[in-house]
Point group: C2
Chain length 343, copies 2
């Protein structure tokens, strides 16, 4: 399978349409004192980002016949983006990362104590913001349901990061363990996003469940593709160093698959992850990933999730629940993007 360019026209329209709206809500809401703490809390969000998760909230809602974004779903979308950024701020401390989105991480600028606290404040806001949907006409039951979806998402992110950290210390990780970890760490929040769109649209429980599954599948495809790009992505496009995940010693599906195929390959990756990260060794590691069939396997796995996500959308369509084709197309684009993207 060749990596190729894909034209995400319908998705691009949504990004164009909603990104500034989402940002304006975030920055309008997240104001307060002490000033330094609030600056630290918006530092990373100001650094950019695709806003993929809140766009999924808004587009899912509209596709399913929900009201205009500004009415109600925007609050759930804003909350999800703040929650996502909270998790990045704390992850960057835990992983000791200096840069994200091309700017220094929060703890590099403000120090670890303020970065921990800024994350905590962002976390609070993620639960505070959905309440504002009440003034846009959401019922108490709807808001509570939305909050609960965000809560469950946040719990899973923490558990996922916990597994990710544990994986650093062991090679006893099977594909099932890896898939559980990426579900918790990445896919659960994308699942929460599409589910929130379903809730905001006022759809039946069955449709909310299906659109939630769509999000989960997109999230799994997205993370596996992330792992592929982490080794084989073009540094000029991804903005990350070549082979960055190998240098960082991440036990992704690529490494786990190769290591499970031959004892000597496992030993080779152990050597790299124990610190032998000369350019030559790393390059050889990347070659092993290709030779072992791990790259092909991961691509097929990700494509399969992406295809299944589209299938869930078709099911929803066949049930007559899609009210706006333009947004339906954008949801399909997101599923395709999760796999075909090159950054």
């Amino acid at each position: 399978m060749e990596l190729k360019e894909y034209n995400h026209a319908a998705l691009d329209v949504m990004v164009e349409k909603y990104r500034n709206l989402i940002d304006s809500y975030i920055f309008d809401i997240m104001k307060g004192e002490p000033e330094t703490l609030y600056k630290a809390s918006t530092h990373l969000i100001k650094g950019g980002g695709k806003r993929l998760r809140p766009i999924i909230v808004l587009v899912s809602s509209r596709a399913l016949g929900g009201p205009r974004a500004e009415a109600k779903a925007i609050y759930y979308a804003t909350a999800i983006e703040v929650l996502h950024n909270f998790s990045l701020v704390h992850d960057d401390i835990m992983d000791n990362d200096d840069y994200r989105r091309g700017i220094p991480t929060v703890h590099k600028v403000y120090g670890i104590p303020t970065a921990i606290l800024a994350g905590d404040l962002m976390f609070s806001y993620a639960f505070a913001i959905p309440y504002l949907a009440k003034k846009a006409g959401a019922s108490d039951s709807e808001v509570l349901r939305a909050v609960n979806v965000i809560v469950e998402g946040s719990k899973r992110i923490a558990e996922g990061q916990g597994f990710d950290m544990l994986f650093e210390e062991t090679w006893e990780i099977g594909e099932k363990d890896y898939l559980r970890m990426i579900y918790l760490k990445t896919a659960a929040l994308i699942e929460a996003s599409s589910r929130l769109g379903g809730i905001a649209s006022g759809s039946s429980d069955e449709i909310v469940e299906l659109i939630g599954q769509y999000g989960r599948l997109v999230g799994l495809s997205f993370q596996i593709k992330d792992d592929i790009l982490g080794v084989f992505g073009d540094p000029k496009v991804t903005g990350k160093p070549r082979y960055s995940d190998l240098i960082r010693g991440k036990k992704t599906i690529l490494v786990l698959y190769a290591a499970s195929r031959k004892k000597e390959w496992k030993e080779f990756f152990k050597k790299i992850f124990e610190g032998d990260s000369s350019e030559e060794t790393i390059k050889e590691g990347a070659d092993i990933i290709k030779e072992s069939g791990a790259l092909d396997y991961a691509q097929k796995l990700a494509k399969n999730y992406s295809d299944n996500a589209v299938e869930r959308l078709e099911t929803i369509h066949s049930m007559g629940a899609i009210k706006e084709e333009e947004y339906f197309d954008a949801l399909k684009d997101i599923a395709v993007f999760s796999f075909w993207r090159n950054k």
Copy 2:
């Protein structure tokens, strides 16, 4: 004013009655994987603590005619205790503290990354737990209101800790700044606790507001007394080193008041806080606090808040909203305890 022993009989009955109940809910609910992360998340809670905040939730609810604790309010109580402990776990990292409740802090046992993550997971649970009150018969509107009270409390804790950290770098702090900081950092969560009791009891908005004010006043008295004990507490009773807040350079009302009275006293404290913390210097600092009238002033301030808290209770009583005298007495006891306690 002399510090004296006070017999908190009615409060003691409540502690005896509820502490194990609260703990059993916490440990039943906070289960999951990865195991290490969950162990880290319950480490501090297992270390003990008075459980004052959840007891305030339960006792406020019963005093105002709410159902038995086990029915509904227990979930709000449990959530508040988990939230309180979350803030301690992260505070201990920020303040680089090695011990709390006589045991090593979470980051000392599990390392900083896991401690940050354990705090995050506890934070998630603080918002997940109130949802469980639904199965005990709470309406969606009640649960959402409860969640919102917890959200606002959590936001204020973060802002309060932000101000506390800022205060380390400046002497430009007036009494108003100090009072705002301790409201945000300590009193807001005690206010949230009594407010949650009011909500669980199904009382009118007016009563919920009054019982919330009671909590706020108890919280202010509690924190000022904490600051007094931080300098003048008996190490054998408090379990903290003598003069600990002076050694740690905390700008409490005691220091701020004395420093505002005489330029040389301000210089003296600056010297201590810049690192001259010989036993003799610290002892002289404590003497200055007495000589300046700061100790008397702080005691009067704390007693005043404690008295006002009791007054709010009397107002609630005069409105006919108190349904159970035994629990009313315990609330009074808590207000008195907040000031008269010696540990």
